[in-house]
């Protein structure tokens, strides 16, 4: 029997996409001095809108506006008042949530059910959580009156454009810093809608400045002499470069970089739940997630049967129009990213791994890939070592828990890991043994503003969310100095 779904598209009109967007500097939307950039809707491959980008003079203006706002208003305002602004933003995000979800899906290519049920609600919650901290910083254990750092320069990626904006802006503002933030060049729209919300909330001009452009703009921002703090989420290669460029400046940095998360399935795992968790781990947001469970480690005794079961389930995933409410896997964010993922797939085949792809039909236009699984992979292969950042799962096997730990930890990355077992002591023991910043027992890809997130090793340093996320924006250096 065929089970066809009728199309269930969300309305594009709700997004009210404008023909042109501008950077938001010192409380106003003004034309930037850089080249215009078109932003493409990955679901169709068509132009969505045009964005005015900034030049060096605009960046300078934004940093100066942030400095003025820091000195004159934001750092001297009582924490309770700062908090009230953030509460306002949280409420307004919730009020405009349907619009934001559609904007995000159109600009990013991720399924509407993800933006609607995760990205946007999590954004509102992130502001709400941090709003409450603004007048309680003395309870963090960082001294009686922890001091903000000043102006934060922030650069965020394209995989969760709105949520990453919240992860950066909310803690910076709650702790009394002001920000200049740059979204990725392929996904500038949702943060510019957030800018409207910020303006409507009457946030003092200059407290949040949003500058648009590509990597060169980000590089100019983090190297700007007027910045006191740098927060970056993105690739390990760029993170490394930022750390190197800022060597010797004394500027506080937090980096949230790449990952190659191990998802470990023991023979006693609840297999149907594990299958769902693996799918969530690698196909959520088309696998374009730094903490994706991209290395599947299955205990040898169940491997063949389990991977067969996994393939059967992946076969049922609906890939297609991100705006359709029934879509499970949407579009890859850009043509360039699609090319990078395909390059990894070629490398995997060339090194001798076996590639299986879902037979689901793909739309003719737009940037799509079938969910795929590599088997017969070995730890030395590129597909087992390098971040693919796409809907491609690399599977390997293990025999003993010790071997699982060694294989999972055998990576320069250390962002996330998952453990699937019905034995509580083994789950908790593995959680201790795995060298990664976030461990999910019998679940995957869970996030909450109260729970800090961030990497070990080359996945970066510093945390976002929870009490330790606030420390990233405060002067925590309490060592006495003679001079």
């Amino acid at each position: 029997m065929e089970w066809e779904y009728s199309p269930a598209p969300e309305s594009r009109a709700i997004a009210d996409i404008k023909d042109r967007y501008m950077p938001f500097i010192d409380g106003a939307f003004k034309e930037g001095g850089g080249e215009d950039r078109d932003t493409i809707s990955p679901g169709t491959g068509e132009r969505l809108s045009t964005v005015s980008t900034v030049n060096a003079a605009d960046i300078d203006r934004a940093v100066k506006a942030a400095r003025r706002a820091y000195q004159n208003v934001w750092s001297t305002m009582p924490g309770a008042e700062r908090g009230k602004y953030l509460f306002r933003i949280a409420r307004a995000v919730a009020e405009r949530s349907r619009e934001l979800a559609v904007v995000e899906t159109l600009d990013n290519g991720k399924p509407i059910k993800e933006t609607r049920d995760f990205d946007v609600p999590a954004t509102a919650q992130h502001f709400f959580y941090h709003a409450g901290w603004a007048d309680k910083l003395q309870h963090l254990g960082l001294g009686p009156a922890p001091h903000p750092l000043g102006v934060a320069g922030q650069v965020i990626p394209w995989n969760f454009p709105l949520l990453m904006a919240a992860w950066k802006i909310a803690p910076a503002l709650a702790t009394g810093n002001t920000v200049v933030i740059k979204p990725a060049e392929t996904t500038p729209l949702s943060i510019l809608v957030l800018a409207e919300i910020i303006a409507d909330a009457d946030l003092p001009p200059g407290v949040v400045n949003i500058i648009t452009g590509a990597g060169d703009v980000g590089s100019m921002l983090v190297n700007h002499a007027g910045i006191d703090k740098v927060a970056f989420t993105g690739s390990t290669a760029v993170g490394r470069r930022i750390q190197r460029e800022l060597a010797g400046t004394g500027r506080k940095i937090t980096l949230e970089l790449g990952g190659k998360g191990a998802n470990i399935i023991f023979e006693d795992a609840a297999q149907d739940q594990a299958v769902e968790g693996i799918i969530n781990g690698i196909f959520f947001n088309q696998g374009q997630v730094c903490c994706a469970g991209s290395r599947l480690l299955v205990q040898e005794s169940i491997a063949d049967e389990f991977i067969e079961r996994l393939k059967q389930r992946v076969e049922t995933l609906r890939v297609g129009d991100p705006m359709d409410k029934n879509t499970d896997v949407g579009a890859i964010n850009s043509e360039a990213q699609l090319g990078r993922i395909r390059g990894h797939m070629d490398a995997g085949r060339a090194e001798g791994a076996e590639l299986w792809s879902s037979s689901c039909p793909l739309p003719k236009n737009g940037y799509y890939l079938s969910p795929s699984i590599f088997t017969n992979a070995t730890p030395s292969m590129r597909i087992a070592r390098e971040e693919i950042f796409g809907p491609i799962l690399t599977t390997m096997t293990f025999r003993t828990p010790d071997e699982a730990v060694i294989k999972a930890n055998n990576s320069p990355y250390g962002l996330s890991a998952g453990v699937w077992t019905e034995k509580g002591s083994r789950a908790m023991g593995m959680a201790v043994a795995l060298r990664a910043g976030v461990i999910w027992d019998n679940t995957f890809n869970r996030f909450d503003p109260t729970a800090s997130f961030g990497g070990y090793k080359e996945s970066g340093f510093g945390r976002e969310g929870g009490p330790s996320g606030l420390a990233a924006y405060l002067d925590t250096d309490d060592e006495a100095v003679t001079r």
């Binding site: 190197r244 959680a431 929870g466």
Partner: protein, 295 residues
């Protein structure tokens, strides 16, 4: 007949043993007046790499030890140091020219610093960790864990207190370290290694090299199996180039904002610099929902 003094051969401290430099090189340490004190081992790049291997092994043992055990071991270092205070007093007075009163203050403070950190090991999780009231049916907690192998450039000018003030917070968190001793203070550093060697500290947790900081530090900063770097003992251009090298493997770098005052209460910045926060999620299922959440 008067006793002819038997002087000590100062060697390196690597993996719980006292080897000479594999290079066979030594350099002369002088006292404040410029007189010859001793020949110290001039560690090579190979010695440094051996020390990192030893530290990785030490880390495995030390990070698995209970917090209570780590506290007792660090307290034991304080006990052993107290027992050899006369030796350190003399060494400090000779090498730095300090008055007896100042040298006494330094040794006292060094012992007290170790006792301070001995009491930290089993409080880190309570102070720096959290139970996370997530808005979904999961039990979630965040807890500090050691960063791994930490490279330390020991400060000069305070041969014992400075050395202990940079080592103690690192091992308190469960890390292992490779220390490059201040170039002019090899005798104090290696004598402290003898204290460590008799304090039940697992082999490899603390490794101390003597030699030229400018020669060794770049290799320490660039080593791919070193997770973090404390650049207290380097300044100016060397510090900047070390930070650049550290970026290649995204090392955590602790960089004091000035010349640290080790006589002051230490704060927590050095502890935090070498701790990672791990967040764990575990489902609580339908029971948590029917019974209300646990928070």
């Amino acid at each position: 007949m008067s006793h002819l003094a038997v002087s000590k051969t100062y060697k390196l401290f690597v993996g719980g043993a006292f080897p000479r430099s594999e290079s066979g090189r030594t350099y002369q340490a002088h006292d404040k007046k410029g007189n010859f004190m001793a020949n110290a081992a001039l560690a090579s790049r190979k010695d440094l790499r051996d020390a990192v291997v030893a530290a990785r092994k030490g880390f495995t043992a030390w990070s698995k030890a209970t917090a209570y055990n780590r506290g007792q071991v660090i307290y034991r270092i304080a006990e052993m140091l107290e027992g050899r205070r006369t030796e350190f007093l003399e060494l400090i007075m000779i090498s730095t020219g300090a008055a007896s009163k100042d040298a006494t203050a330094e040794v006292d403070a060094a012992v007290d610093r170790l006792v301070h950190y001995a009491g930290w090991t089993d409080k880190l999780a309570a102070v720096m960790g959290s139970a996370n009231p997530v808005s979904s049916p999961y039990f979630s907690y965040s807890t500090p864990e050691p960063t791994g192998v930490v490279g330390i450039l020991a400060p000069s000018g305070s041969p014992l207190l400075g050395l202990i003030s940079v080592i103690a917070p690192v091992i308190t968190g469960g890390n292992a370290c490779v220390v490059i001793a201040a170039e002019q203070d090899p005798c104090v550093a290696i004598t402290f290694a003898e204290v460590v060697a008799t304090s039940d500290v697992p082999a490899g947790v603390i490794n101390i090299l003597t030699g030229r900081t400018s020669e060794l530090a770049p290799h320490l900063a660039a080593h791919a199996d070193v997770n973090a770097l404390d650049v207290t003992g380097a300044d100016g251009e060397l510090r900047q180039s070390l930070e650049q090298a550290a970026a290649e493997t995204v090392k955590r770098v602790y960089r004091p904002k000035g010349i640290p005052d080790f006589t002051a209460a230490p704060g927590t910045a050095r502890l935090r610099a070498f701790l990672e926060i791990k967040t764990v999620w575990h489902p609580t299922g339908a029971l948590a929902l029917s019974g209300g959440t646990s928070y």
